[in-house]
């Protein structure tokens, strides 16, 4: 390549275009959107009520009447999976949402004010980084009761420090930048500086991490349910898998389909997260 052919600067490309150009990320985005729609429309799509017993013969493999087969109580596995997906996604987005909000507030305060607050927050997040989270979630849920809100709360409590560290690091570098100084000199109060000037510029890595966190929260909930710490009144995919443990030897469909649902959801979240990272993180855009 001669010097003349070298472009002076890469042409600006819209974020959406980069995301769409990454074919696997675009595909994963579609899958995720489809799963969300299906979960939202579960009452319309499910042929039976998820808990209805004896809607078909027990332990029958997939056929025209029951696409995903039936379990040992003659419940329709497809209906259970549709409703279970709803609960699993609710836990995933709920826990990740709360953790992200909490992380932004705590990390923002620590990164903006620095000093003692910052030291304190860093010590707390360090503790969370070392203590095995899954087991802390297990004891929290076992002691406080396996309701869906306790599960969401426990996962959120364990996840917020990651976001807080991230936001703090961004705030530390951004708060000394000239555009923030300019706003400060113009008389902007702390609230405007934090939410109006710094936060919008710190959001990119938060969005990426928040997306990945949704999938992690879904897996964590599945693990808790599998160990017997699921909410029996809100049947998630993890709880369906736990019930299937007893009968999967004779009925593979009771574990295969709910597992595929969880796998597709988490996989698409992970691929979308990676894709967002490519879009939002300019350093990796050059690849």
């Amino acid at each position: 390549m001669s010097m003349v052919d070298l472009p002076l600067a890469p042409r600006p490309v819209s974020a959406l275009r980069i995301f769409a150009r990454n074919r696997s990320a675009a595909l994963a985005g579609l899958v995720l959107a489809a799963l969300l729609l299906v979960a939202l429309a579960a009452p319309l799509l499910a042929p039976y009520a998820p808990g209805a017993i004896g809607v078909g013969p027990a332990m029958v493999g997939p056929d025209a009447a029951h696409l995903f087969g039936t379990d040992e109580l003659g419940r329709d596995v497809l209906s259970r999976v549709l409703y279970g997906l709803r609960i699993s996604l609710l836990v995933g987005f709920g826990a990740a949402g709360i953790a992200t909000a909490l992380g932004i507030v705590m990390g923002g305060i620590a990164g903006f004010s620095g000093g003692l607050v910052d030291d304190l927050l860093m010590r707390v997040t360090e503790v969370f980084q070392v203590i095995p989270r899954f087991f802390l979630a297990v004891v929290l849920v076992a002691f406080f009761g396996a309701s869906i809100w306790n599960i969401i709360g426990a996962i959120a409590i364990l996840s917020w420090p990651d976001i807080a560290r991230l936001v703090r690091a961004e705030f530390l570098t951004l708060r000394t930048r000239q555009f923030v100084d300019a706003a400060r000199v113009a008389g902007a109060p702390a609230g405007v500086l934090i939410f109006g000037e710094i936060l919008p510029n710190a959001l990119a890595p938060v969005v990426v991490n928040g997306t990945l966190m949704v999938g992690q929260a879904m897996l964590l909930e599945a693990g808790l349910s599998y160990l017997g710490l699921g909410d029996p009144s809100q049947v998630s995919l993890g709880l369906i898998l736990q019930e299937a443990q007893q009968i999967m030897r004779r009925a593979w469909w009771t574990t295969a389909f709910p597992g595929i649902a969880i796998f597709l959801a988490v996989l698409s979240l992970n691929v979308v997260g990676d894709g967002l990272n490519d879009v939002l993180n300019p350093r990796s855009r050059e690849r």
């Binding site: 696997s24 503790v127 070392v130 203590i131 095995p132 989270r133 899954f134 087991f135 802390l136 297990v138 004891v139 929290l140 076992a142 002691f143 406080f144 009761g145 999938g215 897996l219 599945a222 693990g223 599998y226 160990l227 017997g228 710490l229 993890g238 898998l241 299937a244 443990q245 999967m248 030897r249 593979w252 574990t255 295969a256 597992g259 969880i262 796998f263 988490v266 996989l267 979240l269 992970n270 691929v271 990676d274």
Partner: protein
Amino acid sequence: MRGLDISLYVVRRLAQAVPLIFVVILLNFFLIHAAPGDPIDFLVGSMDASPEYIEDLRREFGLDQPLGTQLWAYLTRMAHFDLGYSLRYRQSVLDLILSRMPATLLLMVTALVASSAVGILLGVIAAQRPYSATDQTSTFLALAGYSMPVFWLGQLVLIVFSLHLGWFPTQGMYSLRAPAEGWGRIVDVLHHLALPAFTYSLYHLALIFRLTRIKMQETLSLDFIVTARAKGASEGRVVYGHALRNAILPVVTVIGMNFGFMLAGSVLTETVFAWPGMGRLLYEAIQARDYPVLMGLFTVLSLMVIAANVVTDLIYAVIDPRVVYR
């Protein structure tokens, strides 16, 4: 001088772990008191306790005393490695956990060695040919690997290899009919170990592969690699002698830092295959609401993770000459 520096570093690093151990114990204490219900229920952890036993425990833990005194009583017990007593197993919690530890370690070490070896090798191959078919396929498989619940993977593996093909036993660590000692015993245990170890390795393979690949790609683009190539070093020497030696350091750290995550995977895998380790014990404790065992496991598993972190840092300090001992 360097030897002194290292021993100072070791002491300092160990001292840093002490507050964390306190935090774990305080968390247990907090849970007993903050959870809804009478703290004594969590300390007894069984329905069929005699009233005398309950009174004894109440007195031992000083539950009628102020909170500060209770905390002191609790800390004293912990300082004597007294993790309580399980009425269900009629055994002290510490003995119970220690009796289950070897099975878990056998599973973890086997799987960790297998997944590290294969993961690092695949990572190097993928990094050498970025965006090739091998690279893209293994990258996708790795992503898939850690997007599925490990226990579900275990269920599928169990259905295929044990129930349909009948190659491996479905659960446990021994067969009743196998010889109780000697080679027959070892072969029997290995036969039982195969499926859980395979499941658990596949899961970690994903993590280790992804990491090695990224670190190798970064390292292969550095100046010293260009220098090595310019010197005329063979490709094998450049990749394995120069690049891998540098890329593997962060991989070692990440394996150490992910120890807690790995223990969680082990627990879930053990539950699927009824492997008689600490994970299976956790499952049984949850089913029976055996709170002393639950708290004891949380404490021991946390201590293992803290220890793993310290050991990782120390290994890192020894194998990487660039680490400054502060």
